[in-house]
Amino acid sequence: MARYDRAITVFSPDGHLFQVEYALEAVRKGNAAVGVRGSDTIVLAVEKKSTPKLQDSRSVRKIVNLDDHIALACAGLKADARVLINRARIECQSYKLTIEDPVTVEYITRYIAGLQQKYTQSGGVRPFGLSTLIIGFDPHTHTPSLYQTDPSGTFSAWKANATGRNSNSIREFLEKNYTETSGQETLKLAIRALLEVVESGGKNIEVAVMTREQGLRQLEEAEIDAIVADIEAEKAAAEAAKKAPATKET
């Protein structure tokens, strides 16, 4: 008879939960994901590691919706993500069935984080190896929100954040360049942030935009390419402007 009473996540002598920290390592190896909150738009952008030629890329969706007004992107073990996403989707409908109201972004984040925490304090299981970025609009106040959870089960709200590969550099970029934006500007900021660590091009990033009226909209490759081209042009113009005064002096 299998015994599930032996915990896998136990404290180390100096107060660390090594399994949780190793899970965070798994997250750090996962694809980069960025979330940016604007005043009327929230954007998620995720790195797409090179797709094998024979793979049907439509079957690998990295940004998913949990409900009409909530979406999620993650970095880390994708198989673990499937389990969490499934549970969260069920919870969204179950909540609506009992409360007759859609979930708030905070509620579903708390639920997902609670689930991740449970798996750090149960016998025979390991923590989920992923961090999530959860975006959405609250049902009655319509305020946009961006939350992040991690394998330890902590969560917090953010104006903009990144997780996964090179998340520190992306976060630095966001800290330097974040301003209150809306609409297309929010979209550009998110893509610019992701392009700091990802090769530019529509086939290397997956981008989705959430607005209150239209819900979640996944961008087509062509649209992403166009915005990337815009960003490159702006960068080139900025470079040229920097160089121009220097040549005038000589």
Partner: protein
């Protein structure tokens, strides 16, 4: 004394339900909506025990939504009907739902369809169906006048005939009816047929 009936037309399906909420000899309200919109292209008209009706139709609605989020495509009407019947069947020999259901849907490849699901979990795909005492009159009218491929106008004429029969021949006939339609453009309310309107609420004196 509840009535629910439905029929399939050329490229649409209609579900009609009475809108009285009754408790013993008291009529709680005359504008109760008994036709649940399950998703963009499905209607579920239900009659029976009030609590069971609301509980069960909402349960089906949320499961239909969950399927769509999980799989990225909506459930077909046929699959929804079979799911519904399965849930009724599972509960039947423990704690049965006392709800009779008429499920109407529009699928792009199949067109409109109508399903008759009764409280002991029978399932039939049909062109016309009816539940309740009103069914005696509605089914007879539909048997006489229904044709395949009716237009919306013709179908509504038939619906009105049925409502007229129910109103005139049923001893405790429900006064008001709600008509909903589902076609390629989606599921929506079509019209009310009211013979009793709630008394206007007097405005508080300034």
């Amino acid at each position: 004394m509840e009535s629910v009936f439905g029929l399939v037309g050329k490229d649409f399906a209609i579900v009609v339900a009475d809108s009285s909420a009754v408790h013993s000899i008291l009529v709680h309200k005359t504008n109760e909506d008994k036709i649940m919109i399950l998703d963009s292209h499905k209607l579920m008209g239900a009659s029976g025990e009030t609590g069971d009706r609301a509980q069960f139709t909402e349960y089906v609605q949320k499961n239909v939504a969950l399927y769509q989020f999980r799989n990225g495509i909506p459930l077909t009407t046929a699959a929804t009907a079979n799911f519904t019947r399965g849930e009724l069947a599972t509960a039947l020999r423990k704690n049965p739902y006392m709800v009779n259901i008429i499920l109407a849907g529009y699928d792009k490849d199949v067109g409109p369809s109508l399903y008759f699901i009764d409280y002991i979990a029978s399932l039939h795909k049909v062109d016309k169906a009816a539940f309740g005492y009103g069914s005696y009159f509605a089914l007879s009218m539909m048997d006489r006048h229904y044709r395949r491929d009716m237009t919306v106008e013709e179908a509504i004429e038939l619906v009105d005939k049925c409502i007229r029969e129910i109103r005139s021949r049923l001893v405790v006939a429900p006064p008001n009816f709600l008509i909903k339609i589902v076609d390629k453009d989606g599921a929506r309310e079509y019209a009310w047929r009211e013979s009793i309107k709630d008394a206007p609420v007097p405005v508080a004196a300034a």
